[in-house]
Amino acid sequence: MRQQQNTSIAPLKTVGHATPRIDAIERVTGKATYTNDIRLPGMLYARILRSPHPHARIRRIDVSKALALPGVKTILTHENCQVVWGAGGISGGLQYNDDIKKITKHRRYVFNNPVRFVGDPVAAVAAVNRHVADEALRLIQVDYEVLSFILEPEEALKPDAVKIWPEGNLSLNAQNQAQPMTTRRGNIEEGFRTSDLVFEDRYTTAFVHNAQMEPRSCVANWDGDKLTLYTPTQGISNCRSDTARDLGIPPEKVQIICQYMGGGFGNKNQNQDADLITAMLAKEAGAPVKLEFTRKDDFIGVHGRWPTVQYYKVGVSRDGVLKGIQLRGYSGMGGYRKNTGTIGGIDIYQCPHIDSVVYPVYTNKTVSGNFRGPEYPQGFYGIESMMDDVAYKLKMDPVEFILKNMTRKSRDEVPYTNYSLEECIRRGAETFEWKKRWRPQPGSDPGPVKRGAGVAFMAFRSALGRSNAVIRLDAKGHYTVFVGVTDVGAGAKTTMAMIAAEALGVPVSKIEVVWGDTDRCPYSVGESGSRTTIQTGYAVVQAAEALKRQIAEKGLPTGDNVLIGSASPNPTLEGKVRAAFGAHFVEVQVDTELGHVRVLKYLAVHDSGRIMNPLTARSQIKGGATMGIGMALHENLLYDRRNGQPLTAGFYGARLMTHRDAPEIEVIFIESDDGYGPYGAKSIGESSKVPAVAAVANAVFNAIGRRMKDLPITRDKILGALA
């Protein structure tokens, strides 16, 4: 196992040392309790009937035969259940705001009519067991008026395209205005006028699914007017406030419990329609209900990454200095706009004139939403392929081009709290032996099997923000840390225990963590935006300081007494921008007769500030990079253009990375401590996927001398490009 650590920052006692997860034994013995492992007395099983059509109006639903089936208890449809799913799609992708919810014209219910994609929920059944529930679905008769449909965002904006919403297919923003998202700096025309050369190109990225291993499930139980939801959510606090708002009950009447969860990568953020449907079924049936998604339900009913079309125009001086970057982009949002649909990446270049216009467009595909670095892996693939191409056209080494043009201040004006991008790239190029592996003449290897190298870099937000933590000390010297984190897989519980141990000056074994239950834990932002460690970890440090002050004041507790330290910090950056930095270097081998790409060597260099736990941090980097290879080379949710049916909605069809596909990922951490966050921790989880796709694509170009402009870079496309 190769791994290098930078020792230029002062070492700490616990933080920074490879530490096995505090719940590792539960995870390897089958004792860890995931949502679907919960079983309550008298519990019913639920299934969802989904639209078989990409776009249709429901004329009539007849549930009488299904209700007559012995064992069926409750059926919900749009006729008897009109709960709005706030987090599922409110105009502008700004789903968590009550004011927007009041005025929006585009509101998503848990059951919608018309249905807007294959998989849109039509009915839910609760029955004595899952077999009866499955059978009942088959007995529900739905009379559909089938409408015409549209799958591609550019086509959906044409004047004669079928309207998915009455206002048209350009998604409305929070003020109900049909406008694209724009970012402008300088004057783009001026930028192109002062350029020696201007290049234009088009890149597209595919619809890919989060495809976390745990299919969505939920268990709901009402005790009087109090709802307890066992659900895999990346944020128990937000899930509670969302659920309370959507059901119209006070937040204190909702308890969210998530002990263990089987991944999410962004599609288990906040509350889900499954949570609301299960709660309503349980209420209606007067019994606890467990809703189980099938894997197909999960693929077509839970969101994936938005597919994009990206048109770039780049102006540059003859010596390779960027003068202007223009992006016109289209993001396919599906039938509802669950998240923003922006396309990120331009900002990582230093450039005086920037003009970015991105259209979030409704289509009749499964909804798009957050997936590990929501707007970046696809955006970085586009812009970093474009820039890589420009470098070759200027006869420059891509590494030199990056060093000349990469961001040095955020948006060219705001300083970063620390800056290590140059070090990431130089150290990476040296370790990777870039000069040896990169072909100055792309595609120049003799013979049918050609090698090539590619590079991509990134800067990723590491913002601060509010969070809470409580630490209790008893007379026996046991510390209990209460934090509202779940553990999506990144290891938050262990990280919190390590940070508490460090701050309190005690070993990790003295710390117990209470997590994943809104009735027991204070607010945390949850596992989204790569900020759990930064925000909740910082609250843990502050709570530990508060507890130490108590101890200093009152002495250690005795008998039945306890001492409690708590903190609710909301730190700010004082006019700076905080970012994690990184660069990925990839060597591939392309069999030009078969079109097959194999990754031979992969190096990921990351500055994520001080690494809290090198053991789990490495897992995060390796996992993100490996996912990125899959997105670059084969993952794709294909739709049949003739009938709007999803064709690859399953693990095999979606073509995820397997043991055999995964190369060894070498990881280098360049550690830093900028004085913010807990001991200088910055973001990790999402950033590891962000440059991976572009790095692989650029390596393929270097190997074969053909620029692959449409993801995924499958064999047929490679053979087509070489034909």
Binding site: V132, D134, Q212, M261, G262, F265, R618, S619, L656, A662
Partner: protein
């Protein structure tokens, strides 16, 4: 009413084509229609199966998959269902020492056979060398595929106690990990094999 039906009548092809409920129709006596799905009319079979060393007798519905039996009726929830259609390996258990997808096997097929699940790896409170190695190498991230990875690795080491990294990748390629911690899983199995897996 319990009816003992020959397991030969349920072909694997027919089973994989349908869901459990479709299967119930396919295996029910003629005349039993799709609407009569009450549990009483579902064909049952009494089986004997050894689970983690303990012999169990149970009357199973013929439509139950093995993973359904293990999770819902024996309470062995360590085995996970990731896809329920033989694509991900999260439900891998050992059947007579060989790794199989328990979602793609019917419970009745386990009659007279021996099943080992992740709960059976720990012997007398001592972790299996694989479990220990998974912890040390941070194999599990979200942990949902972990039981399957462990049982697949266990099955591999039974037939090949000293596998190479490539043999491990080949042997475990039917076990997906979306956290994509493949490097660490392979390292963990290599280390466990060196140290001697019990």
């Amino acid at each position: 009413m319990a009816k003992t039906k020959s397991k030969k009548k349920i072909s694997r092809r027919k089973f994989l084509q349908g869901t459990g409920a479709a299967l119930a129709v396919a295996t029910a006596a003629p005349g039993v229609g799709a609407q009569n799905a009450a549990t009483d009319s579902i064909p049952h079979t009494a089986i004997r199966v050894t689970v983690n060393g303990t012999q169990r007798r149970i009357e199973v519905e013929d439509r139950w998959t093995l993973v359904e039996l293990l999770r819902d009726h024996f309470g062995l929830t360590g085995t996970k269902i990731g896809c329920d259609r033989g694509e991900c390996g999260a439900c891998t258990v050992l059947l007579d020492g060989k790794p199989i997808y328990s979602c793609s096997n019917l419970a009745v097929w386990a009659d007279g056979r021996s099943v080992q699940t992740v709960e059976g790896l720990t012997q007398n409170g001592r972790l299996d060398a694989l479990q220990q190695s998974f912890i040390e190498h941070d194999g599990p991230q979200c942990g949902f595929c972990t039981s399957g990875q462990l049982m697949s690795a266990k099955g591999l080491l039974i037939r090949n106690p000293r596998p190479t990294a490539d043999e491990i990748r080949a042997g475990m390629t039917g076990n997906l990990c979306r956290c994509s911690n493949y490097n660490h899983y392979v390292e963990a199995v290599l280390a466990a094999a060196k140290g001697g897996s019990r």
